[in-house]
Symmetry: C2
Subunit: 299 residues, 2 copies
Amino acid sequence: MSKSQDFQTWSFAIQQQMELALGAVLPPAYQLPQRLHEAMRYAVLGGGKRVRPLLTFASGEVVQASVERLQYAAAAVELIHAYSLVHDDMPCMDDDVLRRGKPTVHVEFDEATALLAGDALQTAAFEAISARSLCDEPADQLKMVKILATASGAAGMAGGQAIDLASVGKPLSLPELENMHILKTGALIRAAVLLGSYCGEALPQAERDKLDRFAKLMGLAFQVVDDILDVEADSATLGKTAGKDAAHDKPTYVSLLGLKEAKLRAAELEAEALDCLSVFGARAERLRELAHFIVHRAF
Amino acid sequence: MSKSQDFQTWSFAIQQQMELALGAVLPPAYQLPQRLHEAMRYAVLGGGKRVRPLLTFASGEVVQASVERLQYAAAAVELIHAYSLVHDDMPCMDDDVLRRGKPTVHVEFDEATALLAGDALQTAAFEAISARSLCDEPADQLKMVKILATASGAAGMAGGQAIDLASVGKPLSLPELENMHILKTGALIRAAVLLGSYCGEALPQAERDKLDRFAKLMGLAFQVVDDILDVEADSATLGKTAGKDAAHDKPTYVSLLGLKEAKLRAAELEAEALDCLSVFGARAERLRELAHFIVHRAF
């Protein structure tokens, strides 16, 4: 099997595992209140690249964490990501009608249900990360809850969305744009990596710092590539409306740097991220493959 | 000092303490993104009866918990409550313009900011309950996170809101109405009591069960009284729009039972709740006073 085939097999297995884990963590669709539960399951299941869970699992390989633990840590991160998409798509935010090739939640259901489903998905994330033992030490698992909360809230993802909202039609400098993305997308990607590293053997602080730095660079690279794809790909490939950032007059890496420079920036971030992994040797092979996938993906 | 003066002094001291604790837990208004932080603080600070924090503190007296711990447990519950009000008031939900005598968050700011502020307040709750030691045993604190999540999500408050939403204009039976309220209001009130009981000395399971039963009955009593006040009080006293449930054709205890029977029901619930506290003797005096306050309040 070639290296890229092996990576595809691994990714596919985790995507399957996550579909099961997320399905088990979410309330059943037949149970009351059905419409809420259906909307929650609709928002989460049956799609998505599961980039964050892949990062959690790849990071878990560094510390030889078990699938049993990793799937719930990864589910927590993915539920936060899913809730943010549901709310982000709502009419008062991005007002988007297409997501992962399907109508968005407020279109398929209604606005009130989308609002509640997003709310309940966020709560489900904190339930997933607290309901069973994911660490040898409960005190470390409390740290995981704190890491997820900080990454998701006003000092992380939600804060980044607020800055994004305020930036429509405004000229942002490159540092301002980077700061926005470090919060909006980067914080949760960073959490995905860190949480995986708590599920197995204890890691010396210096190595955890390396992992954290890798995660931060990956978060930025992910966004640069997203901006490039928003310009280069079409809606069918993306499974969401292409070119919407330009249409909304939102600043992007491409609008600030130009396409060629943006691609260079992505390559630089990848190289720097890979550097951080050298200390881990073969244990970080999946993380290396993922870094390559994130930077060179076509969707 | 009379008994009722003493209770008022105690309540006032905790309300002051909570204002400080919530102010410290929330991101500062001068920090970016300012509009988000301002909206979060606007939604939480400077008002509210703080019934849930009072319950947490009163329950904490049963186990001799410290103020240092109780204030963060109580803050977590209050932040969940505050986020639910922000989202509940939005146009796609109850579309309300007045809350605690002030314009609602989406009126004072805008819908997108209200959505994000509510989201970030929920996250802040889980940060407040995980960021510092609130229990002697970290494993017990993980249970607290789980209790808060279960009470707030699809199996609790958010689920109750979804049932409420689906019930507009529909005839609900009394058991259906009770089930809705047990989730919508009751679950978080129950969590407020339970969380306080985890912040101090360990409690035998039988006693924790009594406290839990008390909390469940209080949750129901709180809602019955809310329905009575919605009919009897005016908007100025309530600080929110009076009579809105009847106007929205929502079933209430009063519409199902009549005013007289609803008042009887509240008295029965209070009596049964007080019964549950007998095992605790003098340690539950604050809980008894609170039960009386909740059932006999005029706002």
